[in-house]
C-alpha cells in the first residue's frame, strides 16, 4: 500500500514537471494550441464528470455555465475594466446562482428527459443573449480589447501563459474531484447514480446532494468559459453557448471512463489528438469531419466498452494481477 502511494506520488511529480516544462521545450504554436485545448476540455470534462459521471446525471447543457462564465467576465472587463481574474470567480458565482433554478427544474426529470431539459435550458440562455441586445451586444458579440502582455488582465503575449492557466484549472478540477471521490460525498454520488431510491433509503438526501454537486460543476465550467474567451479575444452567444461544448464535456468523460478521476483527461487526449491529426492530414477543415469521427468513437465505446478507456485499462491491470496469483 505504502509502496503504491510512493509510486503514485512519484508519477504525479514527474507528470507535473513534464507538463510545466512542456511549453519551454515545444515552441510550435500549433502544438501549444492543441495542448491548451486538451487541458481546457479535459477540465470541462472533469467538471461535467463530477455530476454526469459519478452521479449519472447526464447533462447536455453545460454550455450554459461555460457561456455565463464567459459573459460575466467579459462584461465586467469590457464595460467596467475589472480584471478577468476577478471576473472569472464572479462568473463562477453567477453560474452557481443560475444552476439553482435550472437544477430545480431539470432534476424533476430523470433519465433522457433530464438530458433534454438541460439542453433546453442552455439553448434558452443562448436565445436570451441573442435576443436582448442591451444585455450584451446581441448576435454580433464583441472583441476583447487587446492589451498586449497583461497577465493581471489574463492576457499573455506568449500562448504559454494560457497554457499555464489551463493547467492550473485542470489541477484544481482534479484535486476537487479527488477530494470528493474519497469522501462520503463521492460514495453518495455514486449511490445516487446507481439507484436513487436505495440511496434515499440509507439516508442519502439525494436532491440536496445533486444540487450541491451541480453547484460545484457549474462553478468549474464557468471558469473554463472565462479562460476560453480571453484566449480567443472574442465572444458571441453562438460561441459562448455552443452546443458542441456541452457535447464535448460529456463525450470526453464517456470515452475516457465515466465516473473516474482520470477518465475525462484520457478521453480528451484521445479525442483532441484525433481531431488535430485529422486537421493536419486533410489540411484545413472539412465541415463535419471532426464530429463525424467523434460520434463514431462514441458509438464504438458505448457498444463495446461502456466503461470507457479507464475501464479497459483497469481490466488489463486486473488480469495481469490475477495471473501470477494463479501460477
Amino acid at each position: 500500500m505504502k509502496n503504491l502511494n510512493m509510486r503514485t506520488t512519484l508519477g504525479l511529480a514527474i507528470g507535473t514537471a513534464v507538463l510545466i516544462a512542456l511549453p519551454l521545450v515545444v515552441k510550435s504554436s500549433f502544438a501549444i494550441d492543441i495542448f491548451i485545448r486538451i487541458l481546457l476540455f479535459a477540465f470541462i470534462g472533469v467538471a461535467w464528470n463530477l455530476m454526469g459521471g459519478y452521479a449519472k446525471q447526464l447533462s447536455l447543457g453545460h454550455a450554459a455555465y461555460f457561456g455565463l462564465g464567459a459573459y460575466t467576465s467579459t462584461i465586467l472587463q469590457v464595460n467596467h475594466g475589472i480584471s478577468p481574474w476577478i471576473g472569472m470567480v464572479a462568473g463562477g458565482g453567477v453560474a452557481m446562482l443560475a444552476s439553482l433554478p435550472i437544477g430545480w427544474l431539470c432534476f424533476r426529470l430523470r433519465g433522457p428527459y433530464f438530458t433534454i431539459a438541460t439542453i433546453a435550458a442552455a439553448q434558452a440562455l443562448m436565445l436570451i443573449f441573442l435576443k436582448f441586445r442591451d444585455l450584451a451586444w446581441g448576435a454580433e458579440g464583441t472583441t476583447i480589447p487587446n492589451l498586449g502582455n497583461a497577465p493581471l488582465m489574463m492576457q499573455f503575449e506568449a500562448k504559454a501563459g494560457y497554457y499555464y492557466v489551463a493547467l492550473g484549472l485542470l489541477a484544481l478540477g482534479l484535486a476537487i474531484t479527488y477530494r470528493i471521490e474519497k469522501s462520503w460525498m463521492g460514495y453518495y454520488l455514486v449511490a445516487i447514480g446507481e439507484d436513487e431510491d436505495a440511496a434515499e433509503a440509507v439516508g442519502v438526501n439525494a436532491p440536496r446532494i445533486k444540487r450541491d454537486v451541480y453547484l460545484i460543476s457549474a462553478f468549474l465550467t464557468a471558469l473554463a468559459g472565462t479562460l476560453y474567451t480571453q484566449y480567443i479575444y472574442f465572444i458571441d452567444p453562438a460561441t459562448a453557448f455552443n452546443f458542441n461544448i456541452s457535447i464535448e464535456a460529456a463525450l470526453v468523460s464517456i470515452v475516457g471512463g465515466i465516473g473516474t478521476l482520470w477518465g475525462p483527461v484520457i478521453g480528451t487526449i484521445l479525442l483532441e489528438t484525433t481531431s488535430a491529426l485529422l486537421q493536419s492530414w486533410l489540411g484545413g477543415t472539412i465541415g463535419g469531419i471532426q464530429l463525424t469521427v467523434y460520434s463514431l468513437i462514441l458509438m464504438a465505446v458505448i457498444l463495446w466498452r461502456p466503461t470507457g478507456l479507464m475501464g479497459y485499462f483497469s481490466e488489463i491491470y486486473a488480469r495481469r494481477r490475477v495471473k501470477p496469483a494463479k501460477a
Binding site: 449519472k56 447526464l58 447536455l60 427544474l105 431539470c106 424533476r108 426529470l109 430523470r110 433519465g111 433522457p112 428527459y113 433530464f114 438530458t115 433534454i116 431539459a117 439542453i119 433546453a120 439553448q123 434558452a124 436565445l127 436570451i128 441573442l130 435576443k131 457535447i247 460529456a250 464517456i254 465515466i258 472539412i286 465541415g287 463535419g288 469531419i289 471532426q290 464530429l291 463525424t292 467523434y294 460520434s295 463514431l296 462514441l298 458509438m299 458505448i302 457498444l303 461502456p306
Partner: protein, 289 residues
C-alpha cells in the same frame, strides 16, 4: 387584429401537423422501446434529402416521393433497432441516451460532409399557390402537408387499435410483460415500432420539401419541438402527442406574430419550462423505466 390572430392560428396548426408526425414517432419509440430517440430530427432531414434528390434527379414531385421515403426509412429504422438499439436495452440510461445521441451527431455531420451546409429547395407548381378565404391566406403546400399528416396519424391510430401487432405495441407501452405474455416476439414489436416512427419522420421530410429548405441542421428544430410536445402530451401517448404538437405549432406561430420573428423557439422553451413547473408529475415517463 382578429384576422391576424386567426391567420397565425391557421399557420400554427398547419405546421403543427408536421410536428405531430415527428412527435408521434418519438412517443411511439418511447412508449414501446422505452428509449428516447435523439436522432428523430435527423430522419426528417434524411426524408427531405431523399425527396430533394428524387425531385432534382428524376423530376418526381416531393409528395409522390413519400412512397419512397417512408419505406426506405422504415427499413432503416428496423435495421437500427436490430443492430444498434437492441444491444443497449436494459436498466442503464447512459448507453441508450448517448447511442441515439451519437447517431444524431453522426447523421448530422455526415450530411454536412455529403450535402454541405447549403440550403436546398424544390419548387413545385403549388409551392407559391394559396387559397384566399376572405383576408386569410392558406398555402396549398402546407395544407396538403397538414392533411396528409393527419391522415397518416389516423392510419397509425387505426393500426395500433385494430391489428394484433398494433395491439401488442400498445400493450408493450403499458407493460413489457403483457406483450410477451401475448406470445409476440418483443424484438419484432420493437423493430416495427422503430421502423414506423422513422417512416413518419420520413413522411414529415417529404411533406416539408415543397415549402421548406433542406439543410443538415433542419431536423434539430423539429426534434426539439417534438420533445416538448411529447412531454406536454404525456410520454408514450399518441393522441396526447398529436394535440400537444398542434398546440406547440400555434404557440410558436403566435410568438412569431406578436413577439418577433426570432421568438418562436423562445416561446417553445418557455412552454417547456412552464410544463416542467406545473406538470412535473404528468411527466410520468420522466422515470424512463
Amino acid at each position: 387584429m382578429f384576422e391576424t390572430i386567426v391567420q397565425a392560428v391557421i399557420n400554427g396548426l398547419l405546421i403543427g401537423g408536421i410536428y405531430a408526425l415527428v412527435s408521434i414517432g418519438v412517443t411511439l419509440i418511447f412508449g414501446v422501446v422505452k428509449i428516447v430517440n435523439f436522432a428523430q430530427g435527423e430522419f426528417v432531414m434524411i426524408g427531405m434529402y431523399i425527396s430533394f434528390y428524387l425531385a432534382t434527379q428524376f423530376g418526381i414531385d416531393p409528395l409522390v416521393s413519400l412512397v419512397v421515403s417512408m419505406p426506405v426509412l422504415f427499413v432503416v429504422g428496423v435495421l437500427i433497432q436490430h443492430f444498434l438499439i437492441r444491444r443497449v436495452l436494459g436498466p442503464n440510461d447512459m448507453p441508450q441516451i448517448f447511442l441515439t445521441f451519437a447517431l444524431s451527431l453522426l447523421l448530422l455531420n455526415l450530411s454536412l460532409m455529403l450535402f454541405t451546409a447549403n440550403y436546398r429547395t424544390v419548387h413545385t407548381w403549388y409551392s407559391d399557390e394559396a387559397f384566399h378565404l376572405g383576408g386569410l391566406y392558406i398555402p396549398y403546400a402546407k395544407l396538403i402537408a397538414f392533411v396528409v399528416a393527419m391522415a397518416l396519424s389516423g392510419a397509425l391510430w387505426v393500426f395500433l387499435h385494430t391489428t394484433d401487432l398494433g395491439k401488442a405495441m400498445r400493450a408493450a407501452s403499458q407493460n413489457r410483460d403483457v406483450a410477451s405474455l401475448m406470445g409476440i416476439n418483443p424484438n419484432r414489436v420493437f423493430a416495427v415500432a422503430f421502423g414506423l416512427a422513422l417512416a413518419l419522420a420520413g413522411a414529415a421530410g417529404s411533406l416539408l420539401m415543397p415549402f421548406q429548405s433542406a439543410y443538415p441542421f433542419v431536423g434539430q428544430v423539429f426534434v426539439l419541438m417534438a420533445f416538448v410536445a411529447v412531454v406536454l402530451g404525456t410520454l408514450g401517448n399518441v393522441i396526447g402527442a398529436l394535440v400537444a404538437s398542434l398546440m406547440m405549432g400555434v404557440a410558436e406561430s403566435l410568438g412569431i406574430q406578436f413577439v418577433g420573428a426570432d421568438s418562436g423557439l423562445l416561446v417553445v422553451f418557455l412552454m417547456f419550462l412552464l410544463t416542467l413547473v406545473f406538470k412535473p408529475n404528468g411527466l410520468g415517463g420522466g422515470k424512463a423505466r
